[in-house]
């Protein structure tokens, strides 16, 4: 009992932290906000606006603070931190949700296989000097005075001895670059198709078909006598074909036509 009374007296020294509300507040502690839906008396608002607002806000602040102080806390370097819950109020975003990156064929394959990119370190141990040196760039391990690795290339067994191995190597590299560029282009096209929500295979098919139609217009017969492809769809010629009147035809029809033109040009003026 004595402890109780000591506690009571200790408490009564300070002003209370308790506030009574008819309708409890709604909290959105993720945004550090609270919403008080209790009606405000218009008469007392007219009487002493500033005082009422301050008193009302004080009470509500007390309630928010009580709620925040009851949250789980962590003590950090510069004080005690309250862990906030997720915000409740839905607030619009600033920018749309980022679009997912469309994977290239290799990325898809690597993902399926679980292949991960390994990052090479920037520096490597140089055995000559016993120091760590850059792998590339300024002051890197292989300095320019070194003899290049391929100062001599062995001619492979069975190869033409007169063949230039250096040229062969250069050509191979060129081809590799070329084919890689092709793949890159294909990846871009496929990504474009996926973005448009089309099956990339279908898109490629359509493109080839369009190209074949264009190619057909290069012949005088608009491809009528060309060799047919397998499963080629029947496509009407899109070009406008001009029909020429025969030189020796119906005289009356020709006369009629010419008169019509005359009527159009002269007849309007009246």
């Amino acid at each position: 009992m004595e402890v109780q009374s000591v506690l009571e007296s200790e408490k009564s020294k300070f002003k209370s932290t308790e506030v009574e509300k008819a309708i409890p507040l709604e909290y959105d502690l993720g945004n550090l906000a609270a919403f008080d839906t209790n009606p405000i008396d218009p008469k007392s608002l007219k009487k002493g606006k500033e005082n009422l607002l301050k008193q009302l806000t004080r009470d509500n602040t007390q309630l928010i603070m009580n709620a925040i102080f009851n949250l789980p806390t962590k003590s950090g370097e510069d004080g005690v931190f309250a862990t906030l819950p997720e915000p409740v109020t839905i607030i619009p975003r600033e920018k749309p949700i980022p679009k997912e990156k469309i994977l290239t064929r290799w990325e898809k394959f690597a993902k399926a296989k679980g292949i991960q990119k390994k990052k090479r370190t920037r520096f490597e141990y140089d055995e000559k000097t016993g120091e760590y040196k850059a792998r590339y760039g300024y002051d890197h391990t292989k300095s320019s005075d070194d003899i290049p690795e391929d100062w001599l290339i062995e001619v492979p067994r069975g190869a033409d001895p007169m063949e230039d191995q250096y040229e062969k190597r250069a050509n191979e590299k060129k081809e590799r670059i070329e084919s890689n560029k092709k793949r890159q282009k294909r990846n871009q096209e496929e990504a474009e198709a996926v973005r448009k929500n089309i099956n990339p295979r279908e898109a490629r098919k359509q493109e080839l078909l369009n190209k074949s139609i264009i190619a057909k217009t290069s012949t005088a017969s608009l491809g009528r006598f060309d060799k047919k492809l397998k499963n080629e769809p029947k496509i009407k010629n899109q070009g406008i074909k001009k029909h020429h009147e025969s030189a020796t035809g119906d005289m009356n029809a020709e006369k009629q036509k010419t008169l019509e033109i005359l009527e159009k040009t002269i007849g309007k003026k009246k």
Binding site: F14, S16, L32, P42, T57, I68, V80, P87, P96, I97
Partner: protein
């Protein structure tokens, strides 16, 4: 429209990357602009609001001929150029004296706008009190039932929260709760009327209380506004839907086959494959060994081995 920039070096690349849409967004940047004609009240009001919003705010020093309800093109331009999505435009004319327009953008396009007229204004400097330090997160309190009932009030509540809340924090320093923004809706007699809005800012003082929670005392810090509603333009439903989408990464994952009953017990449902009873391991006994099954098998080890070899 701004020209699209292709980054030429790593620095500009990084800067552009910071502007890209993200799952966890940057705190919204606000721009405070003086319209074609302003007065002292509007100017101080803008600079006061700007100083509350610091460090995520910029005050434009020159006047700009902007009429947000007529033409939004310059706002769109400023938004792209400065990577800002909040605007506060102040103006004062005969028709609409002491006018503030709060504008929100989504994807560099105007999302919604609320126009408020200032009736009673007291600046930050008129209050001789301690001010909160820069960059502190404010507390918010919205008083009045109207904030739950009327569309205009709801939108204003959302707008003000968005405007001043800065970044979304996971945790907050209890000492850093320095000030509170209090917005009160004046009660209205007629349900179609729009009452005044009292916007007040107070600094918080924490006193000893003998309990875990401190006793709170307030001191008005300013600025203080009495707002009246004027024009507004709210976002279309589809745009708002797009803007409030929650990214996949942040959506709570659905836990399959686990439920909780009324008492709070966790219930799980297990899906089993069809069991093969032929290979089921039962009690081991010497008599059941395969070795003893076949009589013709004699000294050359278990039958299974022999069958394989054959």
């Amino acid at each position: 429209m701004l020209r699209t920039i292709k980054p030429k070096n790593a620095r500009s690349k990084r800067a552009l990357k910071a502007r890209e849409p993200k799952v966890e967004e940057n705190p919204k940047q606000a721009i405070f602009i003086r319209g074609s004609s302003t007065n002292q009240v509007v100017n101080t009001a803008l600079s006061d609001l700007c100083s509350i919003k610091k460090p995520y705010s910029t005050m434009f020093s020159k006047k700009n001929v902007i009429h947000p309800f007529e033409d939004q093109s310059s706002l769109e331009f400023f938004s792209q150029k400065n990577d800002a999505s909040l605007f506060c435009i102040g103006s004062s004319s005969k028709k609409r004296p002491n006018n503030l327009v709060f504008v929100r953008m989504f994807d560099y396009q105007v999302l919604d706008m609320i126009e408020l007229g200032i009736e009673n204004f007291k600046s930050l400097h008129e209050f001789k009190s301690s001010k909160s330090s820069i960059g502190m997160k404010p507390l918010f309190i919205f008083n009045g039932e109207l904030f739950e009932q009327r569309e205009e009030y709801k939108k204003l509540k959302n707008m003000l929260l968005d405007f001043f809340r800065d970044e979304v924090a996971e945790s907050v320093n209890l000492k850093g709760l320095e000030y509170i923004i209090s917005v009160t809706a004046e009660p209205v007699a007629n349900p179609t009327d729009l009452g005044k809005i009292f916007f007040r800012v107070y600094t918080i003082q924490m006193k000893k209380s003998g309990t875990k929670q401190p006793r709170i005392e307030l001191e008005e810090m300013g600025p203080s506004f009495d707002f009246v509603f004027r024009r507004n333009r709210f976002a279309g439903e589809d745009v708002m839907k797009e803007a409030t989408k929650i990214p996949k990464e942040k959506q709570a994952k659905k836990v399959k086959n686990v439920s909780h009953n009324e008492i709070g017990d966790k219930m799980g449902r297990i899906h089993m494959k069809k069991q093969n009873f032929d290979t089921l391991q039962t009690r081991k006994m010497k008599a059941l060994k395969k070795k003893f099954k076949k009589d013709e098998d004699d000294n050359e080890g278990p039958a299974s081995k022999k069958a394989k070899a054959a």
